[in-house]
Symmetry: C2
Subunit: 437 residues, 2 copies
């Protein structure tokens, strides 16, 4: 590819990452003026490039354009042992490509953006220019890359399923409605039906795409739109194979981030969790365990309270050293109509959640693949089977035993980085109060 063209022929532009190979040379480098620090006889200029912030110095004679100006520098790369990277750039000329109209109303070039979360999000287009803020999303890219690379290796096929749908997969009230040429339609709460159908086609499929939940909860862990990492596997003999696949995917991801995103890990001061075998407890065991350890009374035998998830994670960490824990066999009452029930105990499903540092980040399980069994369960639940004709087509004409999971990308990123609020790890969050930017 041709690089940025300029008048100054004979001096080639370099990427920030290549600078160490050009010591002693004059290079050209473009970016935004991130920060200017004036000293007595010279100035430090930090240049923000695609992935780096490069430290430069200038003599006091050179006029430096205002912060957030976009520039091309020509500069000499000089060895300097005091610098973290082993060199510094001595600016010779600055060519200005564009200038901001106004200085930003929020200071974005300190170590962190020191403001409220509302301000941080209201001014997202500029607060994301902060070195640490943007590193969060560079790392999130790494998580997606790792997931995809792992799933390709495991012979999964990537699919793109529709987000405008005729019926919700998860049921319940938290579904956005829209008018579709006079017909009522919905925004997909998950790619559930479609990934199941595609497990009948490619056996193993995955999708990383937006899903929509009209949740009215305004909590630190709910979003009304998020990125869902979904996979589905045919020919499983137990839902535990899905847990094994997820464990391997997370292990791969930690290794991948350590190898390819060191820059961001350093900037975010992040130590990646070590993932060996992930412990697994049943839902009932977990309930009892938490109640006993913390002298609590179980109020609800069908679901976890968020507080219980936190307490369980703490207990498991203490006992096993693992920051992850699988909880299996959720009650049938609270799982969707496609969830396979346990053969010995139909009140329990062949399902699991994965908790990471106190928060559920994944829901998964084995699905019913037999047509008669699926129809019977729908009837037991009082559903109108006829409305699900296109969903049931796959069962009618043969489906392998199958199961899969959905993982919330923003939640996972938040847990990994230690943020309590999932909005910190969402590029442009949508919640009950926020539709802008």
């Amino acid at each position: 590819m041709e690089k940025f063209k300029n008048e100054n022929i004979g001096i080639n532009e370099v990427e920030a990452e290549e600078l160490a190979g050009h010591i002693g040379e004059v290079v050209r480098l473009h970016g935004s003026i991130y920060k200017i620090r004036k000293m007595k006889s010279f100035s430090f200029v930090l240049l923000r490039t695609k992935r780096d912030v490069v430290q430069c110095v200038t003599s006091k004679d050179l006029e430096i354009p205002m912060e957030e100006s976009c520039v091309i520098l020509s500069a000499k790369v000089v060895e300097d042992n005091r610098s973290r990277v082993g060199y510094e750039l001595q600016i010779e000329t600055i060519e200005v490509l564009s200038s901001p109209q106004e200085i930003a109303p929020i200071v974005i070039n300190q170590k962190i953006v020191d403001t409220s979360i509302e301000n941080l999000l209201d001014f997202r287009p500029i607060t994301l220019r902060n070195e640490k803020e943007r590193a969060i999303f560079k790392l999130q890219e790494g998580i997606c890359r790792a997931f995809r690379e792992f799933l390709y290796r495991e012979n999964f096929t990537e699919i793109h399923t529709p987000k405008i749908v005729q019926s919700g997969a998860e049921g319940g009230a938290n579904i956005f409605k829209l008018d579709y040429f006079g017909q009522e339609a919905y925004l997909a709460q998950s790619p559930q039906f479609y990934k199941l159908m595609m497990a009948g086609v490619f056996e193993r499929v995955f999708e990383i795409a937006p899903v929509f939940r009209a949740e009215k909860h305004d909590t630190s862990r709910h979003l009304n739109e998020y990125t869902s990492v979904d996979f589905e596997m045919g020919f499983i003999s137990s839902f535990r194979e899905i847990m094994e696949m997820e464990t391997a995917m997370l292990q791969y991801t930690m290794k991948y981030l350590a190898e390819n995103y060191e820059k961001e890990l350093t900037l975010l001061n992040l130590t990646l969790p070590v993932i060996e075998k992930i412990p697994s407890v049943t839902f009932r065991e977990a309930k009892v365990k938490v109640a006993e350890a913390y002298k609590r009374t179980v109020k609800d035998w069908e679901d976890f309270e968020p507080e219980e998830e936190k307490l369980l994670s703490a207990l498991i960490l203490q006992e096993t050293g693992s920051e992850f824990v699988f909880v299996t066999h959720y009650p049938s009452e609270k799982r969707p109509f496609y969830a396979m029930e346990n053969k010995d105990n139909p009140n329990e499903t062949e399902s699991f959640d994965l908790l990471f540092r106190g928060l559920e980040i994944t829901t998964g399980g084995q699905r019913i693949h037999d047509y008669q069994e699926q129809v019977a369960k729908m009837q037991r639940k009082g559903m109108n089977v006829q409305l699900f004709e296109s969903y049931l087509m796959m069962h009618k004409h043969g489906m392998p035993p199958h199961g899969g999971l959905g993982l919330g990308l923003e939640r996972f990123t938040a847990r990994l980085l230690g943020y309590e609020n999932v909005r910190y790890t969402t590029l442009f969050p949508r919640d009950i109060k926020r539709l802008v930017p």
Copy 2:
């Protein structure tokens, strides 16, 4: 990863792709019975696996479960020079994992699914099981993988932007409305505003995600939801750099498909186009060229008719041998408010479309980066600037010269495979009449 577990210890399951390495051995292999062909003294059984259809033979003594049953075979891999792959599988046992309720109402195991497009799409969950049908979407996976790999190499960062938005980026009537907790919201027609903002953060960004267009046109090239491949680049000196980037991306993709998707290319009998330099004509030149060559009168100097795009592509192919052609400098009247105008002729924009075999598959161009210039253009267009405060934030606080493009994944796939109707290359199409499956 642990493979599918079974009772028959000591005989490991293999992937279809590994069979050639097991000649002379008894292997276990799972999949769906795709097709049974009974001969006089034996039967052919085709087993559909993740990516292959494997030919097996059985003696007539063995009972074969009905087509679309999911099974585990144990079979001996026997060298056979008559077979295309050099071996065949002699089935020893068949373990049935699941059986269909009914035989499919449409024949799915012939070379093609021989039915109307309506049937093909109505029965998508099962017609996709056809070997050729599913190959289309395996190849589409390859296109996405190639795009992403290329863009990562070129230092683009992958982003996830919201699909529920407060204002449409492209304007016009073709936007889906929804009720967002009492507020009016829209489905994103493109990630335009967000990818621009992110070009101010990472310089180069991309996203592959669904977009929504409430087009009432019921044509062979329109979808109401499609997968848009978007990228945006900062620090460009001309929109031609975006064209160069796209050319390189397409070249990379053809090479990638040839190397990694040979199976599907063979099945689809597809010869990939050779992409060298892609010719480029201005919009006016193109209009004149087509009018002269085909003795047509130009009715509309502001837009192409679909027929003109076809004729132009034919002419360019004849003249240069290229199946792609860039058309540049579209009239300002028909381009959005963020399009940069030509300095010498403000009636023209610094923009382009890419036509591939007669159809527009990409729209791109340079954007206005200067705050004053953007505000002035919005005012000229009679827009309420105050409504775009969060969009204009990036310009106010400094943006590099930037530009980018959007490519329709399904259209591109359709053109590559030679389908007139884009629905053939859409997994579950959405059009004015179709919301199911």
